[in-house]
Symmetry: C2
């Protein structure tokens, strides 16, 4: 399979950064589909078109590659999400930017689910403390602002409301592979825009003051 007939030695006309980046890209794609222990170094190296030993040369081992991947790909997106969480003042813009980002980086929700929701790893704590807790608080604050402005009903529980909005915004992209088939939709930019519109409308109408 990985029958590389290449002799050893530095490759000609190729910046060394290329191998490193190829490994990171391959690892990102594979770790989005299967968890750490289930992905082998040879799989990664094969996909990147380099020798497995390169993983140790560049990253000091499998775990080092994983950490570098999180540092280089996961963390920037998380920082971006955190930025969105803090600076947006409109609830709709918040959800929109959120959904936009998840839709255009399909590997991201996968890795979140794998690493944060079900992986009992140190990254979960990091994610919760540094991001989820803050985003949750921001979301509840935004909701409370809307509530005090009279656009949401007075007795609305901020935690339940925040969890609802998160559910509407995130679930379709988490369940993407199945949802696309079951509901015959394709999660492109068109769908993303429509979904943001649909979800926020449903939320606002469902959570506003109403007589019953």
């Amino acid at each position: 399979m990985s029958q590389s007939i290449r002799r050893p030695g530095r490759r000609s006309g190729r910046p060394p950064e290329e191998s490193r980046q190829a490994l990171l890209d391959a690892a990102r794609d594979l770790f989005a589909r299967r968890e750490f222990a289930a992905v082998s170094l040879r799989q990664i190296a094969d996909r990147a078109g380099v020798n497995p030993a390169m993983v140790h040369y560049h990253f000091q081992g499998k775990e080092g590659l994983y950490l570098a991947l999180l540092e280089g790909q996961f963390m920037p997106l998380m920082a971006r999400l955190e930025q969105i969480s803090s600076e947006r003042s409109s609830l709709t813009d918040f959800v929109g930017a959120y959904v936009q980002m998840l839709a255009s980086n399909p590997w991201f929700p996968n890795l979140i689910v794998r690493e944060v929701l079900y992986g009992e790893t140190a990254l979960r704590e990091l994610f919760i403390e540094r991001f989820a807790a803050r985003a949750g608080a921001t979301l509840q604050r935004l909701i409370d602002t809307e509530r005090q402005a009279g656009r949401l009903r007075a007795n609305l529980d901020p935690a339940s409301a925040a969890l609802s909005l998160l559910s509407l915004a995130l679930f379709p992209f988490i369940a993407r592979p199945v949802a696309e088939r079951v509901f015959g939709i394709e999660m492109d930019e068109t769908f993303t825009a429509r979904w943001v519109e649909h979800a926020t409308r449903l939320f606002y109408e469902g959570a506003k003051e109403h007589d019953r």
Copy 2:
């Protein structure tokens, strides 16, 4: 680690079904946390308190154990869900029974996510064809009934509505480990009941006819 000082031979006063069931239970717990390739036979056997070779005696190997697990634990719950999908006529009852079941079997959403959403396995096809597609259709049918009865707005898209309701019903239990910490909730029976109430109310109010 698995330093069992027990001599070989049949155990006294112990029905053989016990070992088999212990293996299935151990496998269920472990496969809910880590995927197939990441769980070793020795881990399962240790947790079950038997020798790894028992897996081959009872199930003809690791894959056989996995299939037996799906057959014995996953499939019955899926059949129960399918029953709920077909016989309930009220949308609220449907969601209620659904949520109830997910809450009381925490390993089930985990396995669904792992096996169906992200595992590119044969079980995904089975799940989609035999269950998800049918449940999706049933849900859309129920929603359409409500729509024609005037309890939901006339121009509501059944697919989007169904996906919304699913999001509200499922996401909290999929994201359970994080949601519990971020929002300071505990997903016991009390929460379950309140969530069903909250989610269906949000959905009905958000999707009913309203002037804007």
